[in-house]
């Protein structure tokens, strides 16, 4: 018997975890759907006020990011939270699956499933609203000129994929949601109680300190130097984006590794 990873056992573990975790997960997904629909409902353009949909639909980006952050972080911070309770932790740790499989189950649900379902949910709701608006386009007419129609709305996905700049940003920030889930997954196994708040505070303190240290070292290193503007701005931005992609991916892997080690060390 392989004591580290066995695909059948991993499948059994995912099924078993769903029994405990699934109900809460589906409920939070339902809440997210409700909030999304609510926002779209109140923010989609009405006949009189707006002329150009694409400008107006800008609220989607903020909504997508904020709600996405809240959803995936809450899901991730609740996954191993049950290990904080002795009785539940005993049952989890005694389940005949390896620690690696148990950890991988956490990654599967918090990083893959939660991010994927959120994207799909957002896509479906966005698309239905866009479809709805475009179907009623004839009712939206520009002031003054009764014959010209307004521009049809575009879905957020089309919006991103059709704009080269948007797409570039999107691809380079792709590791960010995984970074968020890895941090909150670590928080859920690291702390015994109040996982979310404690993780959030730790992240704030940590990033505050990191920013301060970077700022200080930068200002010390650049003391007495003069900033010279040069060409190649585009190049500079590209390398920054690449740097962000690399650093977020690396941090994600690091946080996952620490979470795995903490899970291994967990005692009841």
């Amino acid at each position: 018997m392989n004591n580290t990873f066995n695909i059948n056992r991993f499948g059994l573990l995912l099924k078993r975890q769903w029994l405990d975790f699934g109900k809460i997960y589906l409920i939070s997904l339902l809440v997210v759907a409700g909030v999304l629909i609510g926002f779209y409902f109140w923010n989609t353009p009405s006949l009189i006020k707006y002329k150009n949909f694409n400008n107006v639909m800008q609220f989607r980006y903020g909504l997508f990011l904020t709600l996405g952050f809240i959803f995936i972080s809450v899901v991730a911070s609740s996954y191993f939270a049950l290990l904080g309770q002795k009785a539940r932790a005993t049952l989890e740790l005694m389940t005949p699956a390896s620690t690696f499989e148990k950890f991988l189950g956490g990654v599967f649900y918090t990083a893959i499933i939660s991010v994927a379902t959120y994207l799909v949910l957002f896509y479906v709701i966005d698309l239905s609203f866009v479809k709805y608006i475009n179907a009623h386009l004839t009712e939206f007419k520009l002031d003054g000129d009764n014959n010209s129609l307004v521009k049809p709305a575009e879905s957020i996905t089309a919006d991103i994929l059709n704009d080269e700049n948007h797409l570039k940003y999107f691809l380079h920030f792709i590791a960010v949601p995984f970074l968020i889930t890895s941090i909150f997954l670590l928080g859920s196994v690291y702390f015994n109680r109040f996982h979310y708040i404690k993780t959030a505070i730790s992240v704030m303190i940590f990033s505050g300190v990191a920013t301060y240290v970077t700022y200080k070292t930068a200002s010390i290193l650049t003391q007495g130097l003069v900033y010279v503007h040069h060409e190649g701005n585009q190049n500079n931005r590209d390398s920054t984006l690449l740097f962000i992609l690399l650093i977020t991916s690396a941090l994600t892997l690091i946080f996952w590794t620490i979470a795995y080690i903490r899970l291994k060390e967990k005692e009841v």
Partner: protein, 294 residues
Amino acid sequence: MEVIKTNYTLVYYLTNTVGMIKINNLNFGYSKHKPLFKNMSMQLSNGHIYGLLGKNGAGKSSLLKNLAGLVYAQSGTLEVMGFTPAKRQPALLEQICFIPEEFYLPSVKIDSYVKANAPFYKNFNHSYFFELLKEFDIPANNKLIDMSYGQKKKFIIAFGLATEAKLVIMDEPTNGLDIPSKAQFRKIMASALTDDRCIIISTHQVRDLDNLIDTVIMLDENDVALKASVEEITNKLTFKKVKELDESIIYAEPSLSGYNAVMPNYHNEDSKLDMELLFNAILAEKIKFKPLFN
């Protein structure tokens, strides 16, 4: 015929002499300044029901958790069926049935709990499981959340035994069971002991279980104060009621008609082991018992 007989003896020899649990110089404590076990060593084998006794805080639960790999020792080695429990390997986990004092069950039906958890144990015996539920008077279509503490406890015991695990660890199993359930529990445990199984039960309520236990393990002062079979104890000691105290008595407690006393078994008497009396006697007169059970 002769060959078969030899093999039989060999199998018997192997199953009865190979230690299922080997503890060597185990040091354990929740903080460095307050050790719970100091250089503890002990061997346990299959085919026995061990009764783990000790005062509150003597480390009964901690020893059981060490065996199950739920906590980590500072030093020393601990081996269960050749595995190190701290590694939490599935091959060992599926051979351990651990019934903790405080437990959690998800809010699902018995049926879905079994469907989700039983496949992890390749020897899980479904018909035995339903037999046990029946014995314990638990309707098989119950929802776990709607059951009382005692019923839940009986459920996890039934599930645990049905896994056919070789090592059965129970922390205060009779806590929360009513009187008929305790009798059912004793019957079930009597039938659960097989030659290849090792059962360890920690308990405060010795009276619930004293006829079930064949070997007593007593923890006191960071170590094993006594580990002896009931037979060995009653060979060396006599437990009886006496009217007056005399020199030979090691320990005595006043009772209605005189004293309940423990004394060396000079006359080869076959007395009944009074586990509660033995427990108090060892706590009070540890030094006097030491030479009797090297």
